[in-house]
């Protein structure tokens, strides 16, 4: 009854490229989708003054206070009202500020948004996007640095997106806004300033398609979000040693591109997964398990994960650094893998 029609996602024609920051790319995506569809709106704390990182700067002036909505500090209500509004013919884009604060709205996301379509037998859809900036950034300590993406991959009904480049932040956010199912959209705070090329014109990126950042025949290096850049850097170093790493950016964790990863591992025989989150029960475990289950014989060395230890993030920079996935750690792990 209150449904909006499902829009098939396709890649638009790439006309030309422009340089744009990761932050501006996200803003452009929202801007374009708000122009395209009057039912799209955004809500969160301080959005009227651009949001905490400036991701919304100027949008209130452009679209008005009805569609760029300043909210109280009420995370449960921000997400919970978005669920009701999504069931009632609108497409809310929810801003959670730091992914850590989304923990104040887990019932709303996991028990309500994720399950409504199924639980009500397909009578409704919940087309909402929850933007949850993740990751370590400027010594923000234990309650402002988490990356809990693996949690959401475990929840049926949720899509999980983690863009690593400006182009993907634009194309994936646009796809997320058009998705009829709830999307957990995790931008990395440390990437806001990253600049990169963006295809001009309608640019949509499909869910479930990994990006091969760099081809290589020796080892498959799977990553997402900010760690993709660390992995790419490691691959460059390794190349100078004669080791050719294939770097894969998953871009979306649910759905994830098993096909591309498996094809890569079938070719290289070696799998390393690198991610910023805690290793134990991180999404790296799922990838390793999937590859080992299905490509056991193709693996020439044990798979490896390069991740954070199971510790909260400390404030003090040297301690924080010890939880970080670095180029050196990846290089070292690949070297060890090659020697096995």
């Amino acid at each position: 009854m209150y449904r909006t029609p499902w829009v098939r996602v396709s890649r638009g024609p790439i006309e030309s490229m422009a340089i744009c920051s990761y932050l501006a790319a996200g803003k452009a995506a929202l801007d374009e989708e708000m122009q395209r569809d009057a039912t799209v709106w955004a809500l969160g704390e301080d959005l009227g003054r651009g949001g905490v990182f400036g991701q919304y700067a100027g949008l209130a002036e452009r679209f008005g206070r009805q569609r760029i909505v300043d909210t109280p500090i009420s995370e449960a209500a921000i997400l919970g009202t978005a669920v009701g509004a999504a069931m009632t013919g609108t497409r809310p884009v929810v801003e959670m500020r730091f992914s850590d604060f989304a923990l104040c709205a887990i019932d709303e996301l996991v028990n309500q948004a994720a399950k409504a379509r199924y639980m009500f037998g397909g009578q409704t859809r919940v087309p909402l996007v929850v933007r949850e900036p993740v990751g370590m950034w400027r010594s923000s300590a234990a309650q402002h640095s988490q990356s809990l993406e693996s949690w959401y991959t475990h929840i049926p009904g949720l899509v999980v997106v983690m863009p690593s480049t400006p182009a993907d932040n634009k194309g994936l956010l646009k796809t997320a806004i058009r998705s009829d199912d709830p999307v957990v959209y995790m931008e990395h705070k440390d990437l806001w300033g990253l600049e990169g090329e963006i295809p001009e014109g309608e640019h949509l990126v499909e869910f479930g398609r990994a990006r091969v950042v760099r081809s290589g025949s020796d080892v498959s290096l799977v990553s997402w979000s900010k760690t993709v850049h660390t992995a790419a850097e490691a691959a460059r170093k390794l190349a100078s040693e004669g080791i050719e790493a294939e770097v894969i950016d998953l871009r979306t964790l649910w759905p994830w591109d098993e096909e591309t990863v498996h094809a890569s591992v079938a070719k290289t025989g070696r799998l390393l997964v690198a991610h910023e989150a805690v290793g134990v029960s991180g999404f790296g475990a799922e990838i390793v398990a999937s590859v080992c289950e299905q490509l056991h014989d193709a693996l020439r060395a044990p798979p490896r994960r390069i991740t954070a230890p199971r510790v909260p993030i400390a404030y003090s920079p040297p301690l924080e650094d010890l939880a970080r996935v670095t180029t050196d750690r990846i290089v070292e792990a690949v070297r060890q893998s090659m020697s096995e």
Partner: protein, 336 residues
């Protein structure tokens, strides 16, 4: 109450008959469902609303089909009066194909979006935010319909109560919050764990006008809701109604409610909203027989519904995997 005769002077008999009819149907639906449960036909839990039917009818009979309703785990009555088909509801309780949620939700998730009933909820208080958000969407789209959220007295101690009501007030949303206060939250007397002067005082502290009504007097509920909805449609922002009633049955069908004495319950049965409505109608001159026939007819109808529901097949196996999400990803391609 017995032979009380305080019939409102200008009672609208037709309206009262319709309420009586609604209440009889709700009672009959639930009694039939309880029988089905005893026969092993209902696999999950049931939360009966026996004794609370005046709230269901007094509220939901005032709603248009496109008005939005959010309900609770104790939502059969609300759903039925809002216009859901009893057969689809009974099938849902039995987990059968053709249930309003395809058998995937059961009693705690009963919903019929085609009549604006956006769901019962298994999480106390979660419906408050969903209703508030529906009202927010209504306002964004410039529509004239309203949203109504019915919740229990237990829900007023959960965070979403504060966050939702504050939200509705600051955004001037067309939503009616109705607290259906049946004295209990499961086995707990709610007042023993609720501070202050009750739900209405909390709403008023947030600037939301509040009314208290006798939730067992269907005409009082009806009148309060009617006036309040008119105010809502005029755009004055959210409203609150506190309806005092009493849960005559246990918390679930499995709850013998040994934590309260039978004398208390017997006394409360004297205040049964259906009996009270019948008495009022008799006082206006309506024949007892005609009233009984309405009740009997409701029971017959619900028995027929059960007879049909019980012969309905289970959902097809493929339903287990449908309507999760569009983008299934690799997990569902695997056998496990």
């Amino acid at each position: 109450m017995g032979t009380r005769s305080q019939v409102p002077v200008n009672v609208d008999t037709d309206r009262l008959v319709r309420h009586y009819h609604n209440m009889c149907r709700v009672r009959a639906f639930e009694e039939t469902a309880l029988e089905a449960l005893e026969q092993g036909l209902v696999p999950g839990p049931l939360h009966p609303s026996i004794g609370q039917e005046a709230v269901a009818s007094g509220v939901c009979a005032n709603l248009d089909a496109d008005d939005i309703l959010l309900s609770t785990h104790r939502g059969h009555g609300h759903t039925l009066v809002k216009g859901a088909a009893p057969l689809a509801m009974m099938r849902e309780l039995l987990g059968r194909a053709g249930g309003c949620c395809g058998g995937k939700g059961g009693s705690m998730h009963i919903a019929d979006f085609s009549v604006g009933m956006l769901g019962a909820n298994g999480v106390v208080g979660a419906n408050i935010l969903i209703a508030t958000g529906a009202a927010h969407a209504i306002r964004l789209k410039g529509e004239t319909r309203v949203a109504v959220c019915i919740f229990g007295d237990g829900a007023i101690n959960r965070g979403p109560f504060l966050e939702g009501l504050n939200w509705a007030k600051i955004f001037t949303l067309p939503v009616l919050y109705l607290c259906e206060d049946n004295d209990f939250a499961a086995t707990t007397r709610t007042r023993s764990v609720s501070a202050g002067d009750g739900p209405g005082a909390r709403a008023e502290s947030l600037g939301i006008p509040s009314l208290a009504v006798d939730g067992n007097d269907v005409l009082e509920v009806d009148a309060a809701v009617r006036d309040t909805l008119a105010a809502l449609r005029d755009g004055g922002g959210p409203r609150f109604i506190h309806a005092r009633t009493y849960r005559l049955s246990g918390h679930t069908a499995a709850d013998a409610a040994a934590y309260r004495d039978s004398g208390e319950v017997a006394e409360r049965w004297l205040n049964d909203p259906i009996a009270r409505a019948a008495q009022m109608l008799r006082n206006t001159g309506m024949a007892a027989d005609a009233l009984d026939e309405i009740a009997r007819e409701a029971r017959r109808a619900m028995r027929a519904v059960l007879d049909e529901a019980r012969t309905t097949p289970w959902p097809e196996d493929r339903q287990a995997h449908l309507d999760v999400q569009d983008t299934l990803g690799p997990g569902l391609a695997r056998a496990d």
